[in-house]
Symmetry: C2
Subunit: 125 residues, 2 copies
DNA sequence: TCAATTTATATGACACGTCATTGAATGACA
DNA sequence: TGTCATTCAATGACGTGTCATATAAATTGA
């Protein structure tokens, strides 16, 4: 049944869960109240911001996050409606889209990133 | 802007997220397909199973999980409908409830726990 | 060059979690 | 003892994620 090793695994798992929820919750609330975006929205902004240039990105970004393809699609919808990001279709493969921050998006990202990093620091001991 | 320390924090955070999603996803899929319960349902079963006896537990269990009170309430609903758990009102405080595994619940928990521990071991390097 | 297959993204139905609120029981204290 | 505040749990409205599928474009190969 419950070997000591099992207990230790469960402990470790609960610790990860707890860190994850505490941190994600804190960031989500802060971003929501100060910038009216959620954590997932920020994470896409963050990825786009750090992915230097072109390339047909939707797909590639998807590989850098645990988000589902359909989740990504919807988050990008919201970001587009909020005027923070724009979708451009790709010249060389018209199935693909690449994403670009708008000026508003870039500015919001810069400010939100400060908050984001601060909360990470605070929560990841 | 992006200090090296910031980058390291973000790295660390992504690693936690990735571990969390990978592990939770694997467990959830396995339990769902083999026992028709999700990860949250299992976690409540697991807590009840390891909390030896009486006491008016809903509340106390809530303190041992990142779940919301209302989330707990709904998960317990599902578990009750599935016949895995039962709610009993408390003698000394009729606002409170304590939970108990049914025989079916106890049995399912034992089997599911094996799978759960195995997947933890597999995913938490 | 024309099917058949595969790939990139979007979308609809649905499940679950959260927030705010409610209802009921308890506690505090004048 | 009677009010007022507090606590425990349940519920409804709502947002967001997932799965399965749709749509459209590209690729393969006969």
């Amino acid at each position: 049944m419950a070997t000591p090793q099992d207990r230790q695994l469960v402990e470790q798992w609960r610790s990860i869960q707890s860190t994850y929820f505490r941190t994600a919750g804190a960031i989500d609330r802060a971003l929501e109240s100060r910038f009216s975006i959620g954590l997932t929205e920020f994470e896409i902004l963050d990825l786009v911001a750090e992915t230097a240039e072109a390339a047909c990105r939707m797909k590639q970004l998807g590989e850098r996050t645990p988000m589902t393809q359909s989740a990504m699609s919807k988050v990008v919808d919201r970001l587009e409606k909020a005027g923070l990001i724009s979708r451009h279709s790709c010249e060389d493969d018209r199935r693909s889209l690449f994403l670009e921050l708008t000026d508003a998006g870039r500015e919001l990202h810069q400010q939100a990133a400060v908050e984001h990093r601060a909360l990470l620091k605070e929560n990841l001991a």
